[in-house]
C-alpha cells in the first residue's frame, strides 16, 4: 500500500462524463488534520473531484488512495472506506422519512458499529455539539435549512470519520443561516479534522483553510496558503475569478 504519510493521495485523476472531460489531470495530497478548500467557477470540476474521493463518482483514470486504501481499485471494499469519510451535501440529503435521531443512528446501527443505545447516546452528544439537542425527535421537514445542515454534519460525525468532505455546504442556505453552519465547520477544523471543502465562502477559506486550491476547466490552476492564493494570486485566471466573487 502506497501510504506516504498522506491521508488523501490523488495522482493523475481523470473523470469524463461521456465525451465531456470534467477532470483532466488532478494530483493532490492532503495531510492528516489539514483543511483544504477548493474554489473555482461552476463547471470547474471541484465538486466532481470531491465526489471522486469517496467514489460517488467513479474515476475514469488515475489513482486515489485514502488512508492507504486504493479506492480506484475495484477490489477495494468501498463501503468500508466510506465509513471513515463523512460527506456533507449542498442539499443536506437528510432521510425525510426518519427523525433526526434515526437519521443519525441508521448507518452505525445497521453496520453493527454501535448498539442502538450507544448510537443514541453518541447522537445526543453530537446534537448538543451542533446546538440542536432539542431537535432529536424532529423530522427534517420541521427544520430550517441551517438546522438541517447541522444535523447532516452531525450524522456524518456519528460514524466517527477521519475525513470530512463538504460539497458546497452553505450554497443552498438563506444568508442568515450560513454563519451557524460555518461555525460548526470551524470548530471541527480547530479540533484537527481532515477536511476537504468545496465552497464559495472566501471568508471561510481565508480564516480556516491551511491550503486553498483554485480549479478551472478540470485542472488545478493555483494552490497555496490562503494568503498566497486569495490575497496575492499569481495566475490571471485566479485573479479574474477572485475579482468577480469578492
Amino acid at each position: 500500500m502506497a501510504d506516504n504519510g498522506y491521508k488523501i493521495h490523488v495522482s493523475n485523476l481523470k473523470k469524463n462524463f461521456g465525451k465531456l472531460e470534467v477532470l483532466r489531470d488532478i494530483s493532490l495530497d492532503v495531510r492528516e488534520g489539514e483543511v483544504v478548500v477548493l474554489i473555482g467557477p461552476s463547471g470547474s470540476g471541484k465538486s466532481t473531484l470531491l465526489r471522486c474521493l469517496n467514489q460517488l463518482e467513479t474515476a475514469t483514470g488515475g489513482q486515489i488512495i485514502i488512508d492507504g486504501h486504493d479506492v480506484t481499485d475495484r477490489h477495494t471494499n468501498i463501503n468500508k472506506v466510506r465509513q471513515n469519510i463523512g460527506m456533507v451535501f449542498q442539499h443536506f440529503n437528510l432521510f425525510n422519512h426518519l427523525n433526526v435521531l434515526d437519521n443519525m443512528t441508521l448507518a452505525p446501527v445497521h453496520l453493527k458499529l454501535m448498539t442502538k443505545e450507544q448510537a443514541r447516546q453518541e447522537a445526543l452528544k453530537l446534537l448538543k455539539r451542533v446546538g440542536l439537542e432539542d431537535k432529536a425527535e424532529a423530522y427534517p421537514s420541521q427544520l430550517s435549512g441551517g438546522q438541517k445542515q447541522r444535523v447532516a454534519i452531525a450524522r456524518a460525525l456519528e460514524m466517527k470519520p477521519d475525513i470530512m468532505l463538504f460539497d458546497e455546504p452553505t450554497s443552498a442556505l438563506d444568508p442568515e443561516m450560513v454563519g451557524e453552519v460555518l461555525a460548526v465547520m470551524k470548530e471541527l477544523a480547530r479540533e484537527g479534522m481532515t477536511m476537504v471543502v468545496v465552497t464559495h465562502e472566501i471568508g471561510f477559506a481565508r480564516e480556516v483553510a491551511h491550503r486553498v486550491i483554485f480549479m478551472e476547466g478540470g485542472y488545478i490552476v493555483e494552490e497555496g496558503t490562503p494568503d498566497e492564493v486569495l490575497l496575492h494570486p499569481k495566475e490571471p485566471r485566479t485573479i479574474d475569478f477572485l475579482s468577480k466573487v469578492l
Binding site: 466510506r82 442539499h91 447532516a152
Partner: protein
C-alpha cells in the same frame, strides 16, 4: 330482477367472492413480480435492465385475454411436449391466476420503478456515503420513501385488476362475469342479470375508490 336475486343470490355472492379472491391473490403475486422487475429496471446493471424492460414491454404488449388463453391452453401443451404428457392445470383458477399476476406484475413493476425514481438521488448518495451497501440503502432509505408515492397508484391498479378478472371468465372460472353469463342463459333475462352483475362490480369498485382517495389524502397530509 327480484326473483333473480332470490334464486341466484348465493351463487352471485360466491362468484363475487371468487372475483375478489382472484384479485387479491393476483395483486399480491404481482407486487412480488413488480418488486423484482421494478428493481431490475432501476439498477445500473445493463443485463438486469434489459430483462426488466423485456418483461414489462412483452407482457404489456399482449392483451390479457390472449395471455390467459396462452397460459391455459398453450403453456399446458408446451409442458406436455417437454416430457410431462400427463400435465394438466389443477384448475382454470391456477392458470388464470398466473396470467392475471403476470399482467398486473408488469404494471406494478412500472409503478414501483416510477416510485423509486421519484425519490431524490441525493437520498441514495447520502446513504452510500455513510458506508451502506446499495441493497441496504435501497431497503432502508429509498424504498420506504418511494412507497408513499406508490400507494395511490397501487390502489388504482387494484381496481383495474379487479375489473380484469372478468376476462378470466373465458377459460371457465366461475367468477362474477361467468356466473352472469350462466344466469342470463338460465333466466333468458339479460337486462336483469347484467344489471345486477354490473351493480355488484360498481359497489365494490366505488368502495375501493373511496378508500383510495382517503389513503391518498392521508399520504399527502403527512408531507
Amino acid at each position: 330482477m327480484i326473483s333473480i336475486i332470490r334464486i341466484y343470490g348465493d351463487m352471485l355472492m360466491q362468484a363475487l367472492g371468487r372475483t375478489l379472491l382472484l384479485t387479491v391473490i393476483g395483486l399480491l403475486i404481482a407486487i412480488v413480480i413488480g418488486m423484482i422487475f421494478g428493481l431490475m429496471n432501476v439498477s445500473h446493471n445493463r443485463v438486469l435492465n434489459l430483462i426488466g424492460t423485456v418483461y414489462v414491454d412483452a407482457v404489456r404488449g399482449v392483451p390479457l385475454i390472449v395471455l390467459t388463453y396462452f397460459m391455459y391452453f398453450g403453456v399446458a401443451m408446451g409442458i406436455q411436449s417437454l416430457g410431462f404428457p400427463n400435465f394438466r392445470w389443477e384448475s382454470a383458477m391456477q392458470a388464470g391466476t398466473i396470467a392475471l399476476s403476470m399482467n398486473c406484475g408488469a404494471y406494478m413493476a412500472e409503478i414501483i420503478r416510477a416510485g423509486i425514481e421519484s425519490v431524490d438521488r441525493g437520498q441514495m448518495e447520502a446513504a452510500r456515503s455513510l458506508g451502506l451497501t446499495y441493497g441496504a440503502a435501497m431497503a432502508l432509505v429509498v424504498v420506504p420513501q418511494a412507497v408513499r408515492t406508490m400507494i395511490p397508484s397501487i390502489i388504482n391498479q387494484f381496481i383495474i385488476t379487479l375489473k380484469d378478472t372478468s376476462i378470466l371468465s373465458v377459460i371457465g372460472i366461475a367468477e362474477l362475469t361467468n356466473v352472469g353469463k350462466t344466469i342470463t342463459g338460465n333466466t333468458l333475462n339479460p337486462l336483469g342479470s347484467w344489471a345486477i352483475v354490473g351493480v355488484m362490480y360498481l359497489i365494490v369498485i366505488t368502495i375501493l375508490s373511496k378508500v383510495a382517495k382517503m389513503v391518498e389524502r392521508r399520504v399527502n397530509r403527512g408531507r
